[in-house]
Amino acid sequence: MELKKTPLFECCEKSGGRFVDFHGWYLPVQFEGIIAEHLHVRSYAGIFDCSHMGEFLIHGHDKISHFSFLTCGDFVPLPIGKCRYTAILNTDGSILDDCVGMKLDEETLFVVTNAGPLEEVSSLLCNSDVQAEDITQQIVKIDIQGPLSLDVLLQSGFDSQVAGLKYWTGGRFEWNGEEIIITRAGYTGELGYELYLPISIGADIWKQLVSHPQVKPCGLGARDTLRTEMGYPLNGQDILPGTTPLMASMDRFIDWEHDFIGKDLLLQQKNEGDYRVLTGIKTHTRQAPRHNQKIIFQDSEVGEVTSGTYGPSVGVGVGLAMLDKKVAIPGTVLQIAGRPLQVEVCNIPIYQNGTARKKVL
């Protein structure tokens, strides 16, 4: 199958991107180098082409209510301009996709989903009572992340009202007469904004941002090390078929007050309490845990590494692991099977100095 290219492919190629296959998309894994890009985002600002992700509009109170029935969160009472992280569920309560929803106005919910299960999600959201509008093909998504990202946006001609956005809020803005959506959110732990742009202006904005002296183009590699240091899960890797929101440590994103698909099964799982949970892990050297490695405690297998890499900002190996609850306690030291490597269960975020929540006004 031929790989799909985003509308920013030429821009990324010109910026020196090295491309890989990511869920059927031809996307840049790195430009200058993963560590250089990672550290640049933590200190300055980086931009990411995230146009492979899915975007939907859900119109009307009833449809928003139908959508909430498919997720572990309730979007009906969500205030205008607020974002909420949630999971779209299968009938058995397992996660089909994790996603973010934002109330654009009283009658409109904007939903952003992952590239992996996009076809299935689109068919579910558009063909059910939700009657969502799939606008993925019309949108270029650029994430700008890093402590200087607001300064860069303001110096690049973006509406000064962007500065008024608090963490996990967003709204409609204008750029040269075109309507765009901006949320103050991201996947790196740093101050950052996600720009949802009409295709016609996507490349212009990429070029404008990348020409800023404090901005570097960044690839999927840095995106992965940045999110792993924060303990953010990646669907298809940390969240697999059968993983429930409880197993994904999404407890605080489950609204038990509202009615939703698979709720009984989730309640049962919660009450029985005998399940594995996604947990942060770290090493004490530069050696990293790796995806799929089995984890041992007192001679028995207690889980496996779902994500693992060297964490450039913490200087040690970091990762996420799906672990038996009894060992998923910070401070517990576990053995990687077949390797001379120990990992310690740790709190999330592993990197504690992110600027995502900082006051900008």
């Binding site: 180098g33 993963i34 560590i35 530069r286 050696q287 990293a288 790796r290 060297y310 190996g317």
Partner: protein, 126 residues
């Protein structure tokens, strides 16, 4: 880019003679493929190894890859500088980024490894 005076394996190690010992590292192609090297697990000094036996491991942000003994012989020295500065492998794979030195090697095996011309041809076939 690819020095003339060393020999290469299909797994992208290089081995060259220096002061009577044989020095081993990974090639420019291998470091480029790996990306930023973050950790190197070096072999034990004095270990007798057979050709193609995994003896060390090099980790990058993206992956962990084994380094195999290019020939049968004995490990006599390791590059301890890599413990603090694994990025030397990226910066200078044929110089400061060497991995270990071998002695008492099987010289017949050494002579059968690829020279630069053959290795470059091999890279093109990948």
């Amino acid at each position: 880019m690819y020095p003339e005076d060393v020999r290469y394996t299909e797994n992208h190690e290089w081995i060259g003679e220096e002061d009577g010992l044989y020095i081993v590292g990974i090639s420019e192609y291998a470091q480029e493929q790996l990306g930023d090297v973050t950790y190197v697990e070096l072999p034990e000094i004095g270990r007798h190894v057979r050709q193609k036996e995994p003896v060390a491991q090099v980790e990058s942000v993206k992956a962990a890859e084994d380094i195999y003994a290019p020939v049968t012989g004995v490990i006599v020295e390791v590059n301890e500088a890599l413990e603090g500065e694994p990025e030397l492998i990226n910066l200078d794979p044929y110089g400061k980024g060497w991995c270990f030195k071998m002695d008492d090697i099987d010289t017949a095996q050494y002579r059968r490894l690829m020279n630069r011309e053959a290795y470059e041809k091999y890279l093109k076939s990948l």
